[in-house]
Symmetry: C3
Subunit: 268 residues, 3 copies
């Protein structure tokens, strides 16, 4: 799996997949820079007048509901439909699902209506979408990854999607099969937007690998390793914010082989 | 007052108050990161469909008019009403009041209609809201804090609110009582959004202290001290931008005791 | 030309021109900080209710279509009309023109209807606006500057505007006259928003120099030199992001004299 992860990263750098993000205002800049540092090509577009045309050019689509409003919901539906028609992967980031009905309902409607490829959230968001009486505290999780495992498996089976929970440890499942990624660093939780960045990086990996379970697992491992490399000298979170970008840019196959901590439930 | 300031910071870190920001696009990321580094939990939400539900979860609300549009004004009114009903503190940041009638009028309507807890602006904005013929030069102040003191006292008395002017020196008043904070560094004026960050930090302090005069004073002192610590090695403004986040994260009681420069008009 | 470039920068720092940006969400923070570091005063405002009032205060206007939507297009037209009436310079950044019809058409309508002062884009965007069958790959150029030279000259003649193509080398033309700037560093292409920042910096230079050909050339040279200075120690792109701001802030006449690489087609 580590060799496959490294190959995916090489492919991203060679092919520069165009990742179309309909994402929240808070993380747009950080997401664009993270995708560039990874080797992908980011674009942000959210107008109903153009999202379908932009999807025509894109290799993957990210729908992130972190700062939702009604016109954006319309654009998310148009873009998702266009992406499904073109068979490009769609990653849904249900930021704050469980916090407000507007977010929970929008995420559910997207899951109900489209064949979302990967649903990536924190434990509280995944539990909320599975109908467990979870409260997300705003956009931060109040649950650990393990508490949300069965919810993730259930959602994966219901929606025929890959579901990824990120946290201290990441859990990725397509229902029958699952993986765990033990990469990452606590500083990643001290910086706004690392979860959103994770979703966009997963989208880039989905653009170069046909199995979204493998792609999501590989992408989350690479981001986690970048977090570990960026944290080496114990920086403050403001400095870490940029060292994480540097680490994505500098990531080598060697880093993945040395630091990757992926456990999969399937035979390799 | 310094001991109380340190206690407030400890409480923020222990309780992680959820600060709901309806703020401008320019500073969303910086504000979210500053609140995280301080120890609070930030959330950004602005849709009329969900702001009331988000306020239900929040411990404080920030209304920042820095990139205003009509739908956002509607959301600001809904959220402010919900916050007042729940008796959580509301901090208003009248970015660019005086520059355009749209901004001045929106800020005044919010002040007229709701019991705003803290109004935090630069000298030009505070003078404009008091009806003085001030021109803000876009969003930057063209006046010093001292020129706006009487305007601040007047607004505080009229609106039964705490009014805070930030600048080279900060002045905070509830009308009868006032405080001065002499912390901070000129580099803070070289980075976009430090004023907006100040408003959100004041909101976090209001969430853990019942007297907004004390809370605003404490919050502005902590931010100012962070600015001093971040400027120690004379960085460029781009580097300072992140060192300020690091300094908020690393702030200790000792730093507050050593560097806090607060003068209050009331007995302690 | 280098001496004139240095004089322009001095004027910006002395006069602090107010640059009104109607720009995309991704780069708002970076643009505001870059303008502050340069010495200008940035303001962002996009509501139809206030853009004309803000233009009244402004010394230059930037229209950037990077995250377009219908209400913003309305605001862009109102603001452009107000700017033309006041005879302040207008810089148009056609981000992603060629990628979607919505962007191409909006950029063309702005060019058709108003006397845009400077059109600054990458090679693919300029070629798309000239009707060449170019595809921008999202918002990144797939062409080199030289491929777009004749398109730039044509657009400059048709619209009586200065057209600037930025890339590994920059080409700036008003039709009859042209300049080349060989400053810059590949890391600038690894950071989101340097093109958008270039447009806003050009606007600041246009605010202090009557000839937009000279202003655009000077501004692009200064930004390119800042890029070279920021890249000196071979930082990662995340770190470079902030060193570029530091370099704009620290830029001295000496740096311009030593590093400026400008070739002009006119006699000096």
């Amino acid at each position: 799996m580590l060799a496959e992860t490294a190959r995916c990263l090489e492919k991203i750098r060679a092919q520069r997949p165009l990742v179309h993000n309909i994402t929240n205002y808070v993380v747009m800049n950080y997401t664009a820079n993270a995708l560039l540092c990874l080797g992908a090509s980011p674009v942000m577009a959210h107008a109903v007048e153009e999202v379908e045309a932009m999807v025509e050019l894109a290799d993957a689509l990210v729908i992130n509901i972190g700062t939702l409003s009604a016109p954006w919901v319309d654009a998310m539906f148009l873009a998702s439909r266009a992406a499904i028609e073109r068979s490009i992967p769609v990653v849904l980031d249900p930021v704050g699902a469980g916090a407000t009905a507007f977010r929970t309902d929008t995420a559910r409607r997207l899951l109900d209506e489209f064949g979302i490829t990967v649903l990536r959230g924190n434990a509280s968001e995944i539990m909320a979408l599975a109908g467990l009486n979870s409260t997300t505290r705003g956009v931060d999780s109040v649950h650990a990854t393990d508490e949300a495992r069965s919810a993730a498996v259930e959602l994966a089976n219901v929606y025929k999607a890959v579901v990824a929970i990120t946290g201290a440890e990441d859990f990725i499942t397509n229902g029958p099969k699952s993986a765990r990624v033990a990469n990452g660093h606590p500083l990643m939780g001290r910086v706004s937007g690392t979860g959103c960045v994770a979703s966009s990086i997963v989208a880039a990996f989905c653009a170069v690998h046909p199995d979204p379970l493998v792609a999501a697992t590989a992408g989350l491992s690479v981001l986690g390793i970048a977090g570990e490399l960026a944290a080496r000298d114990n920086p403050g979170p403001g400095t870490f914010h940029h060292l994480l970008l540097d680490a994505l840019d500098a990531m080598e196959t060697r880093n993945i082989e040395e630091k990757g901590r992926i456990a999969v439930s399937w035979e390799q």
